[in-house]
Amino acid sequence: MNANPYLPVKVKVLEVGKQTENVATLKIESQGLNPAPGQFVEVSIPKVGECPVSISDFGSDFLELTVRKVGRVTGALNALRAGDSLFVRGPYGNGFPLENFDRRHVVMVLGGIGLAPVKGIINRYYLNGGVNRLDLLVGFRTPQEIIFRAELARWREKFNVVVAVEQDDPGWPGRVGLVSDLVKEISVEREAAAVVVGPPLMIKAAAEELSGRGVAKENIWVSLERRMSCGIGKCGHCRINDRYVCLDGPVFNYRQAEGLVD
C-alpha cells in the first residue's frame, strides 16, 4: 500500500442530533468508507486535531458518529452543523463478531457513551431480529446524560431494557446504582453471549459479574477505549502488553482482554 494512510477524506455533515448538552450525533457522508459494527474512525478538524471516534451506526451512504465533548477536537465536533465538513480516515480495528450472537441470548452491559458503538447493532436486531433474547443494561452517571432516549424507548417494545443512573435525581423514576450490579438480576440462558462497553472499571466489574452468572468468558466481548493517536498501530499510545487496541481491538474477547494489564 503506497498511499498515505494518514491522509483523511473530506466528508459533509448531513445531520446533527443533540443527545445531551455534551453529546452530539453526527450523520456524515460515508464516502466509500465501509465499516463493520464496532470499528472506529479517526476524525479530524484541520488545525484543531484528530481523535478516534467509534461508529455508532452506518448505512450504505452514511456513517453516524456519536461524540462526547471532552477536549478540543470533540468540542469542535460538537459545534458542527449540517452542511459543514470534517475529515475522516478508517475504518480501523476489529468490530464485534456478530456471528457469535446469532440465535442466542445476548446480554449487553453498556456504560454512558459506551452505548454508541453498539447502537447500530441493537437497531438491526430491533428491526430484523437475529437474536433469541436481548437484555440491555445501560448505565449513566445522571439522568441528564442519557443518550439515545428515543431508541431506548423503542427498544423496550422488543427487549428487556433497564436504565440505571449512578447519581440519584429528584424526578428520576428509574433505577439508581451501578450498571454492573444489574447483571445480578437477570437470568442467563445456556450459551448466552455478552457485550460490555464502558469505562475500564465498569468493564471489569460487569464482565466478572457475567462470568460469575455463568456466561463463559469466551462468549463475552468487550470494547476497550484507549487514547489512540494514529489508529494504525504505529504511535504506541494504545498498546497494552503485546496488543494494540487499534489493530487487535477495540473489540476483544474477554478471555484475552482479562489478561491485558495496563
Binding site: 469505562p199 477505549e225 498498546r239 503485546d242 487499534c246
Partner: protein, 339 residues
C-alpha cells in the same frame, strides 16, 4: 572489497560522497552538554574525518535522522490537506553508526513498517534514503550490554569502517559504493570486527509473565524514577509519537499537522476523556517500558527489543540502570517460577 585510506584520501572520499549524499555521524558539540563546560556527543552532518567522533558514544541515537523529533505530516490552508512527504529529489543519506543502532533501526522497522496493514509512509521515505556505514567498536563502554542482547553484530550495512591512528579501514559490501571507494583507497584485507564482550552481562529473561507485575521491584523504581522520559528519548528502539494540529498565530487560516515523539514515561501519554488515564504511578510506567523491551515486543515480532546500547543508563538522572533491571527480572522470574 577492503580498502585502506590515509586521512587525506578519506577526506577526498567524503568530499565526493557529499556531492551525492548527506552524511551523518557522531560529532562532538563543544560546550553543548547539559551542564556547564561539558560537551555533547550527538549526530549531525559531517564532511571531514576529523569531525567524526569514532571513539565516543552519542547521547542520542541516530533514529532522529530517519524519524525526526518533529515531522510535519500535512500543511493546512483553510481546510485543504497538503501532504508533506520528504521529497524524492532529496539526497540519500549516509549514516555512520554502530551495530547496536543498526539493530535498533530493524526494531523501528518492525513497528513503523510492519505492524498492522499499513506502512508509515513518512518513515518509509526517509528510511529508504539511508545507507549504513557501520562503525567498528574497538571498545565497549561502561553501560554497554550488546553482546547479551545479541545486537553486537550485524550484516545490515553498506560499508564497514574502522578508524585506527588516523587511517581508515573499510570493507565495502554494497556494490553502489565499490567504484568510489576504489578511486580513493588502496586495496587491503579488512575483516569486520565486532565486540565480543561487555563489562556488563545481562541474563535475558527467558519468559516474563504477569507474575512480576505485583513485585516490589516496581515500588522501588516508583520511588526513584522522576518520569522525565530521557530513557525513551535516547532509546534507539522507542518509536512512540503523538499527532498534533496547530494553526499559525499570525495566520490562523493556515496551520499544520505534525507528529512529535512521545514517551510512555511522561505524563499525558494515556490521558483520555473525562480524566481517565492508565499507569499513573511511575513504577507502573517503568514496568510498562521494561516489559515492552524485554517481553511484549518479542511476543509480537519475535525479536528482543532492547539492543543493549546502554544509553538509557547514561541518561537517567536517578541512576536507574536498565541492564540491572533486566537482570533483576530474570532473578524474579526464577523465583516465581520455582514457587
Amino acid at each position: 572489497m577492503g580498502y585502506l585510506f590515509s586521512a587525506d584520501a578519506f577526506n577526498s572520499l567524503l568530499a565526493e560522497l557529499k556531492t551525492r549524499y548527506k552524511i551523518f555521524a557522531p560529532k562532538i558539540y563543544r560546550g553543548k552538554g547539559r551542564t556547564a563546560g561539558t560537551d555533547l556527543v550527538a549526530y549531525g552532518e559531517a564532511g571531514e574525518l576529523a569531525e567524526i567522533a569514532f571513539d565516543r558514544k552519542t547521547a542520542f541515537s541516530p533514529k532522529e535522522i530517519i524519524f525526526p523529533v518533529n515531522q510535519t505530516m500535512f500543511y493546512f490552508t483553510k481546510e485543504e490537506f497538503q501532504e508533506n512527504l520528504p521529497p524524492k529529489e532529496d539526497k540519500d543519506m549516509i549514516i555512520f553508526l554502530r551495530a547496536c543502532d543498526i539493530n535498533g533501526i530493524e526494531r523501528m522497522d518492525a513497528i513503523l513498517l510492519q505492524n498492522g496493514p499499513y506502512r508509515d509512509v513518512y518513515y518509509e521515505k526517509l528510511r529508504g534514503k539511508a545507507r549504513f556505514f557501520l562503525i567498528a567498536c574497538d571498545q565497549s563502554w561502561e553501560s554497554c550490554f550488546c553482546v547479551s542482547t545479541g545486537s553486537n553484530r550485524t550484516e545490515n550495512y553498506s560499508v564497514y569502517v574502522r578508524e585506527e591512528n588516523g587511517q581508515v579501514f573499510c570493507l565495502v559490501k554494497d556494490r553502489d559504493f565499490e567504484e568510489i571507494f576504489s578511486k580513493y583507497g588502496r586495496p587491503a584485507d579488512v575483516e569486520p570486527r565486532f565486540i565480543e564482550e561487555n563489562k556488563i552481562r545481562v541474563r535475558l529473561p527467558e519468559e516474563i509473565d504477569q507474575r512480576v507485575f505485583g513485585h516490589k521491584l516496581w515500588e522501588e523504581y516508583a520511588a526513584r524514577c522522576s518520569a522525565c522520559g530521557r530513557c525513551t528519548v535516547c532509546c534507539p528502539t522507542c518509536t512512540c509519537f503523538t499527532i498534533q494540529d496547530i494553526f499559525y498565530r499570525d495566520n490562523p487560516d493556515c496551520g499544520e499537522r505534525r507528529r512529535v515523539w512521545a514517551s510512555c514515561l511522561i505524563d499525558g501519554f494515556t490521558d483520555m476523556a473525562a480524566g481517565v488515564s492508565f499507569r499513573a504511578g511511575y513504577g507502573e510506567r517503568l514496568r510498562f517500558r521494561a516489559m515492552h523491551k524485554a517481553a511484549d515486543f518479542k511476543k509480537r515480532f519475535g525479536l528482543f527489543m532492547c539492543v543493549g546500547c546502554g544509553r538509557c543508563d547514561d541518561a537517567c538522572p536517578e541512576y536507574i540502570s536498565f541492564s540491572k533491571c533486566l537482570n533483576r527480572l530474570s532473578e524474579i522470574m526464577g523465583e516465581v517460577g520455582q514457587r
